[in-house]
């Protein structure tokens, strides 16, 4: 492991990340935290898209599952409103939801899979939207600051909370997610998923239970996205039904492609760039959708492997010319 330069780079980046709150202003730090939560989402999403070859246009549903778990516990069981309970609960509920939805979806592949995932996420959207006396409907729910192992953050304002304890909690969760996903991708299970992606028939012939493995991948990816959703709520302070809307799912697909789904680290880079891109587009023009949509089209036409893919192609060209 120590011989591989990749791990040294990871370690260096991790050390830099430890000092980020001292470098960035509170505004930029908040953006960075949005980026980290979406990086976790991207890692999970890419297990399905990049490694299993299934494109879901409905992963907003599991994001919403994680986010609403936090918000609902905060509203109805305030005594349990503590991070060490909230995170497992969010993982649990996003797992349950992705088992139910995944069971229907993985019977299909390609376009059918995409439409089904999309439609099911809209089912959750419709429920969150219509049952407004429970979920707050289009107004959504406010998310107060949580406790952590008995520590209470009452009286602390959100920016202070976000730049202190919470940043390190978030960084810890991201590191764990990164290592777990790295492990999954490199494990025999991960290799089996890639075999299914590359050739379903052959994978089935060598004894891989294709549909079951797809469901596992779906559920794992749903849980990562749910975790990202839960962590995101504390940064954002507010959840709305729109999280389950398919346009939000589309943004998850967008950031994964932006970074490049053929590369493990791609979605992380994509999540960071997307967060900043969206904010600057929204801040500078009322036609931000035009900017984001136009960028997406250019990306699809010119940079199909995403930013990370483009860099890795460039890198291998430089290496060759040496």
């Amino acid at each position: 492991m120590s011989k591989n330069p990749r791990w040294i780079v990871y370690l260096l980046i991790f050390i830099v990340l430890l000092f980020i709150p001292r470098i960035l202003s509170i505004h930029d730090l908040m953006l960075f935290e949005y980026g980290i939560t979406f990086a976790i989402v991207g890692l999970g999403f890419n297990l399905l898209l990049g490694y299993t070859g299934l494109l879901s246009f409905g992963h907003g549903a599991y994001f919403a599952a994680g986010a609403y778990t936090v918000a609902m516990i905060g509203k109805y069981f305030p005594q349990a409103y503590s991070l060490e309970i909230l995170i497992p609960a969010a993982l649990f509920f996003s797992m349950v939801l992705s088992i139910i939805f995944g069971f229907v979806c993985v019977r299909h592949t390609k376009i059918f899979f995409s439409i089904l995932a999309l439609s099911l996420s809209m089912l959750l959207f419709a429920l969150l939207f219509k049952l407004y006396h429970i979920t707050g409907g289009s107004d959504g729910l406010r998310v107060p600051l949580p406790n952590l192992f008995g520590m209470s953050f009452k009286g602390i304002r959100r920016p202070e909370f976000l730049s202190g304890t919470y940043y390190y909690f978030l960084l810890g969760m991201f590191t764990v997610s990164f290592l777990v996903m790295k492990g999954i991708v490199g494990s025999p299970f991960g290799k089996a998923l890639q075999a299914i992606r590359d050739n379903e028939v052959r994978a089935e012939l060598i004894g891989i239970r294709v549909r079951r493995y797809r469901l596992y991948a779906f559920v794992i990816s749903g849980m990562f996205v749910g975790l990202g959703g839960a962590l995101w709520t504390f940064v954002n302070g507010h959840v709305t039904a729109d999280l389950s809307h398919w346009v939000f799912s589309g943004e998850i697909v967008y950031m994964t492609l932006l970074g490049g789904f053929g590369i493990f680290e791609g979605p992380i880079i994509g999540a960071m760039i997307f967060t900043y891109l969206k904010l600057y587009a929204m801040g500078n023009t009322q036609y931000w959708m035009f900017v984001i949509g136009g960028t997406l089209i250019v990306l699809v036409l010119l940079l199909p492997n995403g930013v990370a893919g483009a860099f890795s192609t460039l890198w291998s060209k430089i290496k060759k010319s040496d």
């Binding site: 439609s119 809209m122 049952l131 697909v253 789904f261 959708m289 035009f290 984001i292 949509g293 997406l296």
Partner: protein, 288 residues
């Protein structure tokens, strides 16, 4: 009261039929699921509303009804430009890129609508008001809804005739059955694909134009019809005209009776029925 619910169901089904027919033609012939279809529908609504408002109340009524066709023509042109500039590069690309490109097109179109017509709502109820109401049994029902059903019926018959009896239609079906073989037989795939995309877009625009006399055109107008169109396509089967018809009727009636009986869970109920159909028959009712 039930007769009114039935008629409402038919009305919803008529609109959905036009939308899902367009989706289905594009999906069948080009193999592309157009996520921007809802935005094309919204585009049609805005064009028609703008036409009706511009014409004012001075013109003879029949011109107002003809002006609804501006949705069909206008969005047909938008579809033509979209296919020529973007979609045509996507035929050989994989699903991810095709979907993401149309997703990007959706964002572009939404903001183009905002640039042209601004953020406010457009009311154009003249065609709806002029037709008045008819007595059906002991109830009154807006005549305009019956007019929409008639238009959808005519459009459906036209498409059916076109697809099964004309040479152009048969060529389109040949492409959707086996693209490679169709190329081998010397069909001009490029031009036929453009044509199919224009036709599908135009149908979406027509549906939008027909809706606008009953509800004001707003930003984000096309999101819900797109999702309902997807459900119709999934339930009816990909690329099947019969499926689009049966699926629209199913979704239309579920909505109409759902709104009447359980207004809160009307939409979830719809998803539940669609889900059950898909678990029992994964390829959809008339899928291949």
């Amino acid at each position: 009261m039930w007769i009114i619910y039935t008629l409402n169901g038919l009305y919803f089904a008529a609109l959905l039929f036009l939308i899902s027919l367009g989706l289905n033609i594009i999906l069948g012939v080009m193999g592309i699921l157009n996520l921007a279809h809802g935005s094309l529908y919204a585009f049609g609504a805005f064009i028609a509303a703008w036409m009706i408002i511009t014409l004012g109340t001075e013109v003879p009524p029949f011109i107002l009804y003809i002006s609804l066709l501006s949705g069909l023509v206008g969005v047909g042109i938008v579809g033509f430009l979209m296919e020529k500039s973007l979609i045509r590069f996507m035929y050989k690309r994989t699903l991810e890129y095709q979907l993401l490109l149309t997703f990007g097109a959706l964002m572009l179109l939404e903001d183009v609508i905002k640039m042209i017509w601004g953020g406010q709502a457009y009311y154009a109820s003249a065609p709806f008001v002029l037709l008045g109401k008819v007595d059906i049994g002991s109830h009154v029902y807006p005549t305009y809804f019956l007019f929409v059903m008639l238009i959808a019926l005519i459009a459906g018959l036209f498409i059916w005739f076109f697809m099964s009896k004309t040479k152009l239609g048969i060529m389109l079906r040949a492409i959707s059955l086996d693209r490679e073989m169709a190329t081998g037989l010397g069909l001009d795939i490029d031009r036929l694909s453009t044509f199919a995309f224009v036709l599908g877009s135009g149908l979406a625009g027509l549906a939008g134009a027909l809706v606008v006399p009953t509800t004001p055109a707003l930003l984000g107008f096309g999101h819900e019809p797109l999702i309902l169109g997807f459900i119709v396509v999934v339930v009816g089967g990909l690329g099947s005209l019969k499926g689009a018809l049966v699926g629209s009727l199913l979704v239309g009636f579920t909505r109409s009776f759902g709104i009447a009986v359980f207004p809160e869970i009307e939409l979830p109920l719809l998803f539940l029925i669609a889900g059950i159909i898909l678990v029992v028959k994964p390829e959809g009712l008339f899928g291949r």
